[in-house]
Amino acid sequence: MSVDKINWFKYAAPANFYPLAGKLIPWFAVAAAMLFAVGLYIGFVVAPTDFQQGEAYRIIYIHVPAAWMSMLLYLLMAGYAGLGLIFNARLSSMMAQALATTGALFTFIALWTGALWGKPMWGTWWVWDARLTSTLILLFLYIGFISLQAAIDDPRRADRGGAILALVGAINVPIIYFSVKWWNTLHQGASIRLMEKPSIAPIMLAGMLVMVGACWMYSIAVVLSRVRCIILERERHAPWVLELLESKR
């Protein structure tokens, strides 16, 4: 390693990233807790009752952030998986693996809260609306990725096979989204749209954005701690892990 240059890839090595992640996790966890507290306070106490939807609308404070996270985390996961595939970077593949579970969790939360919201609003738990359907398919894509990685014993093959699947899925997400959208509109002219509300009040928007921040912080904290576990598991024969375990003993 040359001394006159900054080593940009220092933290691409799991041995260096592991302690860094350990130091960062508490900060993100605290930020997540604080933002959740503020966001929920705004959402439950400060924000007024919606004059059309009553109290039930308050579920958007978790529903909308979860829906955003589900899509963003998929792209992030595919991006990390692609990086791992192209540059043969172990850590990127581990990040992709760590992101998948959180992404699937948020997708599930988005669907579940959507159902809870749909029951009082539309009188049904589920409609075959384009957004709902494409979120459901996104959940299937996450499950496919997780199951493929779980089925392959060799971690290198699991990383690269998963990466191909994630990238194929990422190419497919827009195709699926638009096909589902056309399918729905072609079938039944006017269906219920999720987002066509009267313009949202600033305080509601603020609460939602704070919750989005909280979900981001939560995701980062959880993904980092999960990637630490994955690092330990995969590098368990590496000298630095053995040293670490010795010092902990």
Binding site: L141, S147, R157, G161, I164, I175, I176
Partner: protein
Amino acid sequence: MSQSTIHATLLWVVRRDLTLAMRRRSDVTTTLFFFVIVVSLFPFGVGPELNMLRSMAPGVVWVSALLASMLSLNLLFHSDYIDGTLEQMLLIPQPLSVVVIGKVIGHWLVSGVPLVLIAPLLGLQYDLPGETLLVLAGSLLLGTPVLSLVGAIGAALTLGLRGGGVLLSLLVLPLYIPVLIFGAGAVEASLAGMGVQAYFSLLGAVLIVSIFFAPWATAFALRVSLE
């Protein structure tokens, strides 16, 4: 590399796979009969009323085609993987994606084309009018190659894995959804007396995109699975 060797490779792979399929015809006919049986099961579940059956037919036939095509995917690489032929194929000087295209064409000829040919007959069970039967066959003609192409990626990824078959369905079925929507949509539009050109165009577009990307991704997945 000259054009002719690529063509020769492609033809060689297709001919080889067809020969193998013809020597083991039961594999091919099993897929076909699976399709026939699944389509014929639905009326037992929902009742024999023709009006309802007619409106269900596009979805039923298409979903059954999806399942039949997915179940036949293990014919694509599995036996070559078991006896080591696939590893030898990785070593030939021509691009691996050419071999993949050849194998996909072979797979489609033995598993997709029979579905296209038998579908109008099954459509009769559901009382579809004559023109719609043609649309059904046409939509399957455009759609089943996509199923083989996209399925090949999944088949390559799950090569030699525990519980590969079930896993394959988990990976591949979500990716089949656009084909299902456009394919069944075409038949439904024809039933409703609307134009089907838009659906056929979209199916064609999906086919072109998958011809472009899928062999390449499959070749890559094969290299990952066999290294």
